[in-house]
Symmetry: none
Subunit: 219 residues, 4 copies
């Protein structure tokens, strides 16, 4: 009679949970099967039995993470469909930051993705297709709405949308990827509680940036 979400007391589930933390913390190559199994209270051979090998476990962790993360933090955060593009962008940024900086239990979902992006394994292709591309397309549609009125993007326009998407995602990821440098530069700044503050900044900065591009002013 399992009360906790989906019976996490089976070995396979515990392994995924433990592996998620360890992979997110050390990266795929530096993580050791022994530490994962130790945390999961399982034998070293359990990984081989359930996931074939270390990489199989990694893929399973990624897939679990992809589903879980997008389910927990949908890009629109339950926003009503008739919301303005500005509202949608703010919500997208906020949810993105929550995924990579949030401290909720299984906190490693977003961290794992950020790691995979910065130091990809062979599983990157799968991650891009099943998780990153949908998010990217959603962001691109918001940006398309913000950059012009109604006309489908084409040619030059598509490049601008893509570059804007990179600008927004880059700003968000910087607060995860560069967290150690930020801590060293400004010891007492921004902790998890500041996610709201950061989301505000990135949203305002980006909305103004997009409007500036639309204005088309020269450099």
């Amino acid at each position: 009679m399992e009360d906790i979400s989906k019976k996490t007391d089976d070995t396979k589930g515990r392994l995924i949970e433990a592996a998620g933390e360890v992979f997110a913390h050390h990266g795929f190559r530096s993580a050791t099967v022994r530490e994962i199994c130790s945390r999961a209270g399982a034998n070293v051979a359990a990984v081989n039995y359930h996931f074939r090998d270390k990489e199989g476990l990694y893929v399973a962790v990624l897939e679990h993470s992809l589903q879980s993360a997008t389910r927990k933090y949908p890009p629109d955060l339950g926003l009503r469909d008739q919301a303005t593009p500005e509202e949608k962008l703010r919500t997208f940024i906020h949810s993105f930051l929550l995924r990579i900086l949030g401290e909720g239990v299984p906190a490693w979902h977003g961290k794992l993705m950020a790691r995979e992006i910065a130091d990809p394994t062979d599983a990157l292709g799968r991650v891009v297709q099943s998780s990153i591309r949908p998010l990217h397309m959603y962001l691109a549609s918001i940006l398309s709405d913000l950059l012009k009125e109604g006309k489908p993007a084409e040619g030059e326009e598509r490049d601008v949308i893509f570059l804007c998407a990179m600008s927004i995602v880059g700003q968000c990821l910087q607060h995860f990827t560069g967290r150690r440098v930020i801590a060293a530069l400004r010891p007492k700044s921004f902790n998890p509680a500041d996610i709201e503050r950061i989301a505000d900044h990135i949203t305002r900065f980006s909305l103004a940036g997009i409007r500036g591009l639309r204005a088309g002013g020269s450099l």
Copy 2:
């Protein structure tokens, strides 16, 4: 006190050169002493002899890189001092991108820094103090000029400057850190030759973003 940049045919210099490439490509943990020594045409024991251990070599590489990189690509790219803040920002962004995306012979300097930021070792503190902080301060001064006129930043203002700096650096690093994902999302887009294009975008996006913040419009 040997000048490495002059006589790179001694073992020590060749080791640093080879280690730079390997560390930049694989990261500290995944790089192997054997590959480094092999590329440098040196014995496996050479690293321990000259640098005490693998980490000692890494620190030496970082320090060499810090000096070399800032010398080769000064943040102002030789800009005259009376340039406008807008010109200074554009030059900063351009030089930053050149450092992390350029294909010049010592191409690994910037890549190495970006790696250290994304996956720090114990040497991060040193890197921050001697290399990152100066760049950051220079960027902060440009931003200060752009955000207001003359008055030194304080309180809330400092937070804004810091967040803007992160926004700009984050946009730049995204094109290095996320290069594999970008390649997977848009196979034929942006190659090194597009650095100008990317620099243009980030500059325009950011200048508009900063101006938007100064306007202080509500969300």
Copy 3:
């Protein structure tokens, strides 16, 4: 007391059948319980449940093989008892080759024996007593007839008989044991269809050899 040869669709029977093929192909040590169970469509624990351990299964396979093989290919191949010793020898050699080179459904019986001879396990003693010795005694009796007339063999004579038996068996086994080398030396020679040809050669070679020994010519 189950009759395996009749109902081979029970787990135990399927395990023996599958194990026979795998042991014959890979040898005892290199064969894996997992492959055997996989082929038999049974659980990995089935071997330990039914046969205590891997070796127990091996012994069961051997015993099944001993009975089955001698039943299927009797050394005299149903030859009438009043056949000449020459006819008996030819038939013995032919049936021996069929057992180790034949491609019949239970093709692994002879191969398994040949493997046990070349790389014995602890079960060798049992195999010798229950399977090899009877064959050997039968061959020895044929040889005794060929070497002299009527007088029981004794002393020096017994050594000659034994050596002749080894000569004949060695010639036959060479075509199984050394099959890989033969294939490498003479790529297109001798395939299973050549059993007749090989049997002819060994028979003629050996009959002449035996007669030569009887003639007692000096070296």
Copy 4:
């Protein structure tokens, strides 16, 4: 100042020597690097350092064995060239038996070959080309002389030569491959000292067999 043949006190040489014994005794797959290194008084990593991996060591052992064995027991055993074919055959058989049954220090050369023949690894091809084929060609030339006068072998003739070669080699190998069965069948028969006796038998048996074939008598 090494007095023993060729300085066997270096690690590499000791590893080859130890590996030879272990491989000959257990076979490639069942032999463990640990036992080999333990016997050689070396670290487990020594194998990797000197021979890349276990298979590299195996190949090195084989090559060392090929040279050493044929040097120690040349197929003609120093026989003068104008010896009769009969003398040559006897010498070939004798030297062959010495190689696989002899107890001289490094006793494992022939045993290793016999193992490789019966249970080949990926290195078999090399062994065949560099070691077995020359021996085979030499034996074939002797057989050619014995089977007819002067005329080069062709067609059917070549098959007969090949089959005779297999008959002779098979008889010899039987005393190594089947040694355990022989011991079980006839506990007190044939020990190493009987090599002469066995060589005599196989030679006489085979010479008579060959002559019988030449006579071309029907079955």
